[in-house]
């Protein structure tokens, strides 16, 4: 009986191992790419799963801003987190995501005044989880 097999299999797994609901994964990070006159990794973003913080760092004194853009589970985005504070500064954006949700984010270089994201500098992006 197929259903019984399904239950048996689950029971075997549950009886031998205590897996976590999801594997432990180190916090992810991204670097902007070199383009449009911006240096490689001029902007960096890191997602800290504990507390769901998106950190956006400006790493090069180039007169430009760092910006992260992100999309969320549920079909929303992009949302933008700008760091216009200059080289060596980091902006901490607290997302407070519900458990089980995810974020897909990229980091780019841009001009804060015009809210112009230089998409050619955007990292490929990565998904991380709350």
């Amino acid at each position: 009986m197929r259903r019984r097999v399904w239950l048996l299999a689950t029971a075997v797994v549950a009886g031998l191992l205590v897996p976590s609901a999801a594997p432990a994964v180190a916090d992810s990070s991204q670097c902007s790419i070199a383009a449009s006159g911006a240096a490689s990794c001029a902007a960096r973003a890191e997602f800290v799963s504990l507390g769901e913080h998106l950190l956006v760092e400006d790493r090069v004194a180039d007169g430009h801003s760092a910006v992260a853009r992100y999309w969320l589970k549920g079909g929303t985005g992009p949302f933008h987190v700008w760091n216009s504070g200059g080289a060596g500064t980091t902006v901490d954006h607290n997302l407070e995501l519900p458990e089980g949700s995810w974020i897909f984010y990229q980091v780019c270089v841009g001009e804060f005044g015009l809210r112009d994201v230089w998409t050619s500098t955007c990292s490929a992006g990565v998904t991380d989880y709350a």
């Binding site: 197929r2 399904w6 075997v12 594997p23 079909g75 992009p78």
Partner: protein
């Protein structure tokens, strides 16, 4: 009752389940390029059902069940965060949504292959006709959301009614999918989606309500896959898919705006068709072969209704230049292709159902700006641009005595309702059928554009209604009556909170063609 074409060996499954927790998985039937077990470095899957579940193309004893594994749907490689390995996915069909004791009536296993973006198309058979079922999937220990589906009535039986919805054109950036929320709440027996499920084109950059991750025009398999994945992250779209079986056809934007049989490379056609198949609840019969895809097909709903789902893109001649009457009316040109046209005309010779419905893409009735036969100021992309094909098909159903013909249409981002005639320039020409055109789910955004002028309507008196708001159409079909309710989103699709409301209702009586206010 049970149908398990790819039975999951118990030992394999137990090993797989065990390995899933331990970091390895057994994959019955996996391709030679994939590891037989999850090896070192391949992690357990995150929740892989982020794109939801769907069903489609019901018959009296079965339906196709769909999902696509994508734990990270917006990752830009087109594989939704899945590893380069094939994965066993179990499915179950039950008579209640809790999958309680004795409720499961069919189950099996499909292999979600990396080469097909981990899409799953399961085709259970042996189900009872004319009843509601529930289904779910399991992969690597994760359970999917539960979907609801419905089988078609038994052959030769006359159901009391069929409740169906139809929709089209859901540009992701231009609005929220409130209309899909309405469809899901209706819980119809069927949903027809008549094309422009995605838009391939470059992001507007305006991001009316949301924006693409990949903003350039999609023209590769990776990009099409990603575009579908982003659309399918929408919870209302997922809810509408999970609420009822869908019948889907593509129009142009699943490939490129206004494409035809001659203006696309084989490589791009193949990529677009492959991605469409991977992301739709379609049967194996619709799996693309190279740069072709057999999309036109038929579905019977007892003796009440027969749906002819058409493909007006893949075989059409190039569009005529504007105002070129000689080309638009050239009988050698076709919008459907000779084989599909014959397939349709031959079907008209039999009358197994009270109602015949053509589910198709572009405007069927004539829309002529000045009402003059000699100017052809009409759309060259719609059936107006292929008038000879339309004339042959319309005359075909009249001559063959098709009792009640209804054409269901999308594409034009407005609601329309029209009587069909053999000769639209002769305003007393007999009415031979009905066309119901659904507006877009979102495409066009806020809407509210100008209505056709009184002069235009006087030139086109067969047009009974038009509305430039977003929404869908819901309909009820009985042996005696078709009732169509044109639903609109209010206040608009750019509002984060909105609802759906009926804007207009029409009825068509069996045996008496012509729209009636209802």
């Amino acid at each position: 009752m049970r149908k398990d074409p790819n039975p999951l060996n118990r030992r394999t499954f137990v090993l797989g389940g065990l390995a899933a927790a331990a970091g390895a998985v057994a994959l019955p039937g996996a391709s030679s390029s994939a590891p037989a077990r999850r090896g070192a470095g391949i992690q357990a899957l995150r929740f892989p059902f982020e794109l939801g579940v769907a069903s489609g193309d019901p018959t009296p004893d079965g339906v196709v069940l769909w999902t696509r594994l994508a734990p990270a749907p917006l990752n830009t490689g087109g594989h939704g965060g899945m590893p380069n390995a094939d994965v066993a996915v179990e499915w179950q069909v039950a008579t209640d949504a809790t999958f309680g004791t004795g409720a499961i009536v069919a189950s099996g296993t499909q292999i979600a292959r990396y080469a097909e973006a981990h899409s799953v198309h399961a085709e259970p058979t042996g189900l009872q006709p004319g009843r509601e079922y529930f289904y779910r999937f399991r992969a690597d220990g994760h359970l999917s959301p539960v979907g609801r589906t419905v089988t078609a009535p038994a052959a030769g039986s006359m159901p009391a009614q069929l409740r169906f919805a139809f929709a089209s054109c859901q540009h992701f950036e231009q609005g929220w999918y409130h209309a899909h929320s309405g469809i899901a709440a209706d819980r119809p027996d069927l949903v027809l989606f008549l094309g422009d499920y995605i838009y391939e084109n470059t992001s507007s950059g305006l991001e009316d309500v949301r924006g693409y991750v990949l903003s350039d025009e999609a023209d590769t398999l990776t990009e099409y896959r990603h575009r579908y994945a982003q659309y399918r992250t929408d919870p209302n779209l997922q809810a509408a898919h999970a609420a009822a079986p869908w019948l889907v056809v593509f129009d142009d934007h699943e490939l490129e705006n206004n494409w035809n049989s001659t203006n696309q490379s084989a490589a791009r056609r193949q990529a677009a068709f492959q991605a469409f198949y991977e992301n739709m609840p379609l049967r194996a019969a619709q799996r693309p072969v190279s740069s072709s895809m057999l999309l036109y097909r038929r579905l019977q709903w007892g003796t009440l209704a027969r749906f002819h789902l058409l493909d007006t893109r893949q075989y059409r001649a190039p569009q005529a230049l504007p105002l070129s009457c000689s080309v638009m009316r050239d009988p050698a040109r076709t919008i459907a292709g000779a084989a599909q046209e014959q397939w349709l005309l031959q079907a008209f010779e039999q009358h197994p159902a009270r109602w015949d419905l053509l589910g198709q893409q572009v405007f069927f009735a004539q829309r002529d700006d000045d009402g003059l036969r000699g100017t052809c100021d009409q759309s060259t992309d719609a059936w107006d641009g292929y008038a000879a094909t339309r004339d042959r098909i319309a005359a075909g159903w009249v001559q063959r005595g098709v009792p009640n013909m209804v054409v269901l249409t999308g594409d034009v981002h407005r609601h329309w309702a029209a009587d069909l005639r053999l000769d639209y320039y002769n305003h007393s020409s007999p009415i031979i059928g009905t066309e119901l055109v659904t507006t877009s789910i979102t495409s066009g955004g806020r809407g509210g554009g100008s209505a056709p002028s009184a002069g235009w309507l006087a030139n086109n008196p067969h047009i009974k209604y038009t509305q430039d708001q977003r929404g869908y159409v819901r309909a009820t079909l009985t042996p005696d009556l078709l009732t169509a309710e044109f639903m609109i989103v209010t206040p608009s699709v750019v509002a984060s909170t909105a609802t759906t409301a009926m804007d207009r209702r029409f009825a068509v009586q069996a045996g008496r063609p012509g729209l009636q206010p209802a």
